[in-house]
Amino acid sequence: MNIVVLVKQVPDTEAAVRPDSSAPARIVESGIKFIVNPYDEFAVEEAIRIKEAKGGHVLVVTIGPPRADEALRTCIAMGADDALRIDDSQLPDLDALGRARLLSKAIAQSPFDLVLCGKQAIDDDLAAVGTFVAELLDLPHVAVVTKLELADGKAICRKEVDGGTQTVEVQLPAVITAQKGLNEPRYPALRGLMLAKKKEIPVVTPSSLGISAEELRPSYKVQHLELPPARGKGKILQGEPETTAVELVRLLREEAKVF
């Protein structure tokens, strides 16, 4: 089974991101730790488990500048076999559709049975690229999956919908996007880390994939980033619960008028 996992390198969830005053559509990157997008980790883990159970090959693919190699090495340390980076240094404004064009072109170059990725990246929070890749390759997709079983050329997926779950059967090849709950991603073992260090990571560019800058012109363009409005100082009640609970209910009813 050939599995392709799409990953993205994103700022750590703990990072205090702030807009760059000299380029307000970007964040200040210095001092920020970058990690594998947490939802993509579920996808990598799932791919490795499938390989361990059924045999096969796991290729991880990312789009990013040279620093994104680090994310690929993390995936290799976990157990992925190969990695590929699509360099976007010349096209820093790529939008989700542009990224999906590059990814679908890159992964279509060799046969695969399954594409896995996280349900969304925690930087732009778009929740689009996996599904875009499926559509561009004319494959079915199942998004926000918390359980995956493979049998007879099919995947049986459990996915989240508002207030419930759906069980969906899909013919392979397909694109499946991972949600928290799918598995518990492993920590790389020492041997994996050594392997990952030495692994050669091929790099391709949009032009080497045969896609012009014109085709990648973004129709979704961030104009600026800003911090959300600061909240005013709140009223903090201290004292006996008998008093504070009643006062809180009164404030919520009479002042905030929320119920």
């Binding site: 689009a128 559509e135 919908v161 508002d162 779950t165 949600q179």
Partner: protein, 326 residues
């Protein structure tokens, strides 16, 4: 020039979801500037009552795509259906609610139409015919203003952000039936079953009021008091990542960077310290209440109202007081 803003309308149990009415509200706001009318797309069967609801919110046309193949939601099929609607309508903008289904469908449809997609938007405006949106990014740590170009951009709007349009006298929108064919991808997917969790509680992403618990809840059994408070207020129960990771609550309830980002009218955080990732997910709530024993807890920094105290005493007393007032 496009003549319509198209809204995909989502139903649950035959009734239009409020978040879809909010999307119609957002569409109405921008339609005049785009010199457009508002049209609704209904895929699958809608009952009479639901259709009447569309009459009252100022929709001038309803596109209906009916058929047994749309009985259960499946994004590839629904994208086939909406693609046929878009072919007829050529909308200047497509809107839907950023629900689980809306996000899923919007992505498939955007790629199908090669349209710009902006999900989970909290602001939408038109300047000189150019559409721009505001969306929380980095789980709400930042807000991005994004310009959208190209044909029929697709925007999903975050529930509880836009107002439902005021009821109007019956407008009797024109109903246009559309037929669509299943594409290759759609024929490869089968929805076997959909199971909704029991209970009448709304989903945390759509609820007006969310009562959340964190590590301070000490165990899964204690969430019962939060459920009681939530039920009393007609709200939903949320949880912090640590409560979910401890296995006390299902991930569907998780609020924060690797859970749901929400904007309810009232958010009550009980026994939640306020980690960055949690604050990111709930800090756009309109009114935030924190109940925590530790006066130094981070959550108090974003709270409009805070109670320093033992939630196991404060919450039951709140419940008793609210019952007294009702």
């Amino acid at each position: 020039m496009a003549s319509e803003v198209l809204v995909w309308v989502e139903f649950k149990d035959g009734v239009i979801r409020r978040s879809s009415l909010e999307a119609i509200g957002a569409a109405t706001q921008v339609a005049a500037q785009l010199k457009c009318t508002v049209a609704a797309a209904v895929v699958g069967n809608a009952d009479q009552q639901a259709m009447q609801c569309l009459d009252e919110v100022g929709v001038s046309r309803v596109y209906k795509v009916e058929g047994v193949e749309y009985q259960q939601f499946e994004p590839c099929r629904y994208a086939d259906a909406l693609q046929a609607v878009v072919k007829q309508s050529s909308p200047g903008l497509i809107l839907m609610a950023a629900t689980a289904l809306g996000k899923d469908l919007s992505a498939r449809l955007a790629a199908r139409l090669r349209s710009a997609l902006a999900t989970d938007c909290i602001g939408l405006e038109v300047n000189d015919g150019q559409i721009s949106v505001v969306r929380p990014v980095y789980a709400g740590k930042l807000r991005a203003k994004v310009g959208l170009s190209g044909p029929s951009p697709i925007v999903t709007v975050r529930p509880n952000t836009f107002a439902v349009p005021a009821a109007q006298s019956n407008r009797q929108p024109e109903v246009t039936g559309i037929s669509a064919e299943l594409g290759a991808a759609s024929r490869k997917v089968t929805v076997r079953e959909t199971v909704y969790s029991t209970g009448e509680m709304p989903d945390v992403s759509e609820a007006d009021i969310v009562v959340s618990g964190g590590r301070g809840m000490k165990g899964p059994e204690n969430f019962a008091i939060l459920e009681e408070l939530a039920k009393l207020l007609g709200g939903a129960v949320g949880a912090s990542r640590s409560a979910v990771d401890a296995g006390w609550m299902d991930h569907q309830h998780q609020v924060g960077q690797t859970g749901k980002t929400i904007s309810p009218n009232l958010y009550i955080a009980c026994g939640i310290s306020g980690a960055t990732q949690h604050l990111a997910g709930m800090s756009s709530s309109k009114c935030i209440v924190a109940i925590n024993k530790d006066p130094e807890a981070n959550i108090f920094k974003v709270a409009d109202y805070g109670v320093v105290g033992d939630l196991f005493r404060v919450v039951p007393l709140m419940i008793a007081e609210i019952k007294k007032l009702k």
